[in-house]
């Protein structure tokens, strides 16, 4: 039992990270139907910027704010200068653009911040908390707590604010949204900014646990994409659930099946799910209109 609990803790912590990244994918996908392969780089920017600010003697809270701001600016620039001009191009063209952007950002980070791994100090110590014979780090609770807060804040944003509703409307039908006077260009810009900020927050939260470096975004970005698709692209709930399923499956696979094949298990899972639910767990099953 304690064993199971330990796997679960591990899975939930990692899964929450995947969920936050997946949420970033979902947000951009919703507004623009673009899969942003540079999403992982926002996590990297968040983590690395905080580390470098701390190194420069800036107090932690300020460093975090600076990191989020930087990531947001990068996100906005990405939309404005890279995605916006190619708006009418084919899906894979835009995918390649975001891949190019991620290589560019990674390269830049490597030049500016170097290639070494860095550890961010945990926010509230690293004395493990024992629950039912299993242990969890305080930082994991931070990750989970922040995930919950972010999800709640996003729910409020999309359901209660005009801008949030505008983003939702744009995701359903861009032309119609434009007709009713929504500035869809602005919506796109904001969703990129928001998603970048989200990525940065995730990157900062997990840096004390997973360590951070210029290329930390590759794997996390990929896993976030898996989470988003698993849940059903464009569904916020889907991304969260997808991320948690992914994390927990990995942990359970490592614990109970084989640690060598634990990385393959999520992909087998996603293939199976897609075979039976071609639109992911929470994806909309639209009927084609001809």
């Amino acid at each position: 039992m304690a064993e199971f609990l330990q796997y679960l803790f591990s899975g939930i912590t990692v899964g929450a990270t995947y969920a936050l990244v997946g949420l970033g994918f979902a947000m951009i996908y919703n507004a623009s139907h673009v899969i942003n392969f540079a999403q992982g780089e926002f996590l990297m920017i968040g983590g690395m910027m905080t580390v470098s600010m701390l190194g420069a003697g800036v107090p932690m809270p300020l460093a975090i704010v600076a990191a989020i701001v930087l990531a947001t600016v990068v996100g906005l620039a990405l939309e404005k200068f890279a995605v916006e001009p190619a708006r009418n191009a084919e899906v894979v063209t835009v995918i390649i653009i975001t891949i190019g952007a991620s290589i560019f950002l990674r390269g830049l980070a490597q030049v500016v911040w170097g290639k070494e791994y860095h550890a961010l100090p945990p926010f509230s110590g690293d004395t493990p908390i024992s629950i039912g014979g299993a242990t969890i780090l305080p930082q994991s609770l931070w990750v989970l707590g922040v995930t919950v807060v972010v999800v709640a804040a996003l729910a409020w944003f999309f359901n209660r604010t005009l801008m949030g509703k505008a983003i939702l409307a744009t995701s359903h039908n861009r032309d119609a949204a434009q007709l009713v006077g929504i500035n869809t260009g602005l919506v796109l810009l904001i969703s990129f900014g928001l998603s970048a900020a989200l990525g940065a927050i995730a990157g900062i939260m997990i840096a004390p646990i997973t360590l951070t470096s210029y290329d930390v975004g590759i794997m996390l970005g990929l896993k976030g994409f898996v989470a988003a698709v698993l849940g059903g692209l464009g569904s916020g709930v889907g991304a969260i659930v997808g991320g948690l399923i992914l994390g927990i499956t990995e942990a359970m696979a490592a614990g109970y099946i084989s640690s060598e094949y634990k990385d393959a298990v999520p992909f087998v899972l996603i293939l199976l799910i897609l075979f039976f639910l071609p639109n992911g767990l929470f994806g909309v099953r639209g009927t084609e209109r001809v």
């Binding site: 009927t287 084609e288 209109r289 001809v290």
Partner: protein
């Protein structure tokens, strides 16, 4: 004997009954129109007949052969061809190639000969190209022979779809709102074109909003309302049917 027979056809999406208990027959060599207010289920009926949707229940027969639920490409093989309400032109191809796609079933579709470009393929394609060009002239889009489909005007694309459908040499041609979005002049031209097609012996089933067009050319009219059959008969009979008048006035 009827060419197309629909028996007690039903289709629902979730709780919405798009088509209910619908039965009708289409005689060969006629122009058969389906009309009805918006949302009456005309396009759904089309999609059911052409295999895009699978019926919830009921039967469809082409030449007494059951076809309900069979995929579109199999129906095409049985001699059924169609156009689409929202244009379905392949914008990544030229106009001529679009029509050539329509002749797919009449060509050698084997992979290996195609890959090795055996003489038969070359010959088949040359004939196909000529036939397609002929058809483009027939529907009146001859001047777009070498154009990219993406560069053609809307009205011409509507005809191009008809040419593509005809390229399959169908026995049954289903036209889904061929005049939608066209001006009066273009509509009149479509009117002529459909009659020209019918004269070649192709049976035409037509969904259309333009009453003038429908009344002008139809041999037989089926009126739908809320997925059910409201009336059926010749243009004259339908025009004076009180239910139809009520539905249209009510809808308007």
């Amino acid at each position: 004997m009827s060419l197309l027979r629909v028996e007690q056809l039903n289709k629902s999406f979730g709780g919405v009954h798009a088509v209910q208990d619908l039965s009708f027959e289409v005689d060969p060599g006629t122009i058969h129109s389906v009309i009805g207010p918006n949302g009456a289920g005309k396009t759904t009926l089309f999609n059911l007949v052409t295999g895009v949707y699978t019926p919830s229940s009921g039967n469809i027969f082409l030449d007494d052969q059951p076809t309900a639920g069979r995929p579109a490409h199999v129906l095409a093989r049985l001699g059924m061809s169609r156009t689409f309400q929202n244009l379905q032109i392949c914008m990544n191809m030229t106009a001529l190639e679009n029509v050539m796609v329509g002749r797919h079933l009449h060509l050698d579709r084997r992979f290996l000969p195609a890959m090795l470009r055996l003489p038969g393929i070359v010959r088949g394609d040359r004939d196909c190209r000529d036939k397609a060009a002929e058809l483009m002239n027939f529907v009146g889009t001859g001047r777009y022979l070498d154009s990219d489909a993406a560069s053609m005007p809307y009205g011409a694309l509507k005809r191009l779809e008809i040419a593509r459908a005809l390229a399959a040499e169908p026995r049954l041609l289903l036209l889904d709102e061929p005049a939608a979005g066209l001006n009066a002049n273009e509509t009149a031209e479509i009117d002529v074109l459909i009659q020209k097609v019918a004269q070649t012996g192709v049976t035409v089933v037509l969904v259309e909003h333009d009453m003038k067009l429908v009344m002008n050319i139809s041999d037989h009219i089926l009126v739908l309302d809320y997925g059910k059959k409201l009336a059926e008969g010749t243009a004259e009979a339908v025009r004076h049917n009180p239910d139809v008048i009520a539905a249209y006035l009510g809808a308007a």
